[in-house]
Symmetry: C2
Subunit: 191 residues, 2 copies
Amino acid sequence: MPRPSKDPAQTLAILAEVFREYGYEGTSIGLITQATGLGKGSLYNLFPGGKAEMMTTVLTDIKTWFETHIYAPLQAEPHTPTSIQSMLDAVTRYFHSGQRVCLMGVLATGHQRDQFSETIAHYFTTWIETLTASLERIHLPHHDARHLAEETVLQIQGAIILSRALNDPAIFQRTITQLHNKLTPPAPKAK
Amino acid sequence: MPRPSKDPAQTLAILAEVFREYGYEGTSIGLITQATGLGKGSLYNLFPGGKAEMMTTVLTDIKTWFETHIYAPLQAEPHTPTSIQSMLDAVTRYFHSGQRVCLMGVLATGHQRDQFSETIAHYFTTWIETLTASLERIHLPHHDARHLAEETVLQIQGAIILSRALNDPAIFQRTITQLHNKLTPPAPKAK
DNA sequence: CTAAATTTGTACCAATCAGTACAAATTTAG
DNA sequence: CTAAATTTGTACTGATTGGTACAAATTTAG
C-alpha cells in the first residue's frame, strides 16, 4: 500500500495509469485504492460522482496536458521549424516510446465509446486541427495538411499498438523518425 | 434472445464480436449467452475451460481466417500485382472500414497482453513477415520491405482507432488508398 | 426406435463489484 | 489551540461475476 499522495496531480496521474492498464470496466475501486494509497472513503469524498467522475477528471487532465505540451508549442508565435519536432519529442515521452497506451484510443475501441464519445472525438479532432494549422503555416495546402495531420495521429496510435504487441519500442521510434521526415520541410539545400 | 445457432462457426463469430465490443474482462458469461442464444450449460459444455478457452478459440479462429484470406493470397504462385490489393480489400471488409476493432490490437493495449501475449505477437509478426516476403518478391530490399510492412500494419491499426474515435469510415478508406499507392509499384509508364 | 450427445436453466458457491453511510482518527487552516 | 476539513476503513446493500453441479428436456446419430 503506497503512502497516500498529497498532490492531487500525482493522484490523477496514478489514476490515469490504472485506467490505461485495466480499462474502464476492468478498473475496480479496490485497484484504485491500492494504486493511489487513498482510502475508499477518500475516493468518494474527492470524486462524489464515483468511477465515472474519476475517468472524466482523468480525461480532462489529459486534454489539458495536450493543450499545454502539444498544442501550445504548435501554435506559438513566431512559428519555428522546431515546433513539430517538439511535438514528436513530447509525444515520444508521453507515450513512453509506445509502451504506454493512449487512454482516449483505448476508450475508442470499446463500448464505452458512447459514454465518453464527445471527449474522445474532441481530443482527436483538436490534435488533428492544431497540427493541420501548423502545417498550413509552412505553406502546405489545407487539404494536404489535414490528411498529413490525420496520418500523423493515426500512425502514432498504430505504432503504440504494434510496439506493445511486439514489445518493441524501436517500432515506435522508427515511426516517429519517419513522421519527422514527412512533417518537417526538407532543408532548402537538399532541394 | 436469439435462436441458438447450430453452426459452430457462427457461434464463434458472434463470440468474437462480443469480445471485440466489451473486451475480455468486460465480457460476462451473461452477455455471451444473450448474444449467442446458447444456455450457460451449453457454453461450459462446449468450452470446458471457461471464458479463457472461449477467447483462445476465438483468437485461433481469427488467426486461421487471416491465414486463409490474407496470407495465402500474398503467398500465392505465381505472384501477381493484385495480391496486395486483395489483402487491402480483405482488410477493409474484415475491419468494416475501420468500424470493427482488431481484437488482437485491443488485447495488446491492456493487461491481458500478458495472458495472450504469444498469440498476439504471433499474429502481428506473421502478418508483417508475410507482407515483407510479398514485397520482396516485387524486388524491394528486405530492409525496406520490412519497414513498409510494419508501417502498413500499424497504419491499419491506427486507422481503425481514429475512424472509430471520430466515427468516420472515410479516414480508414483514405488510409487504405494511400497504402495501396505505397505498396503497389507504379506502372512502368509512370516512371 | 434407442442410446448417446447436447442443451437447458436453475441452484449453488465464493468472490467481487460500485456505491452508501458513518464514527473515529487525523490533518489542516486560521 | 479549536473548528473545519479530510481521511480512514468497516459494515452494509443489492447486484454481478465465473464456475460447478445436475436433472430434465431436446436433439442427434446410427
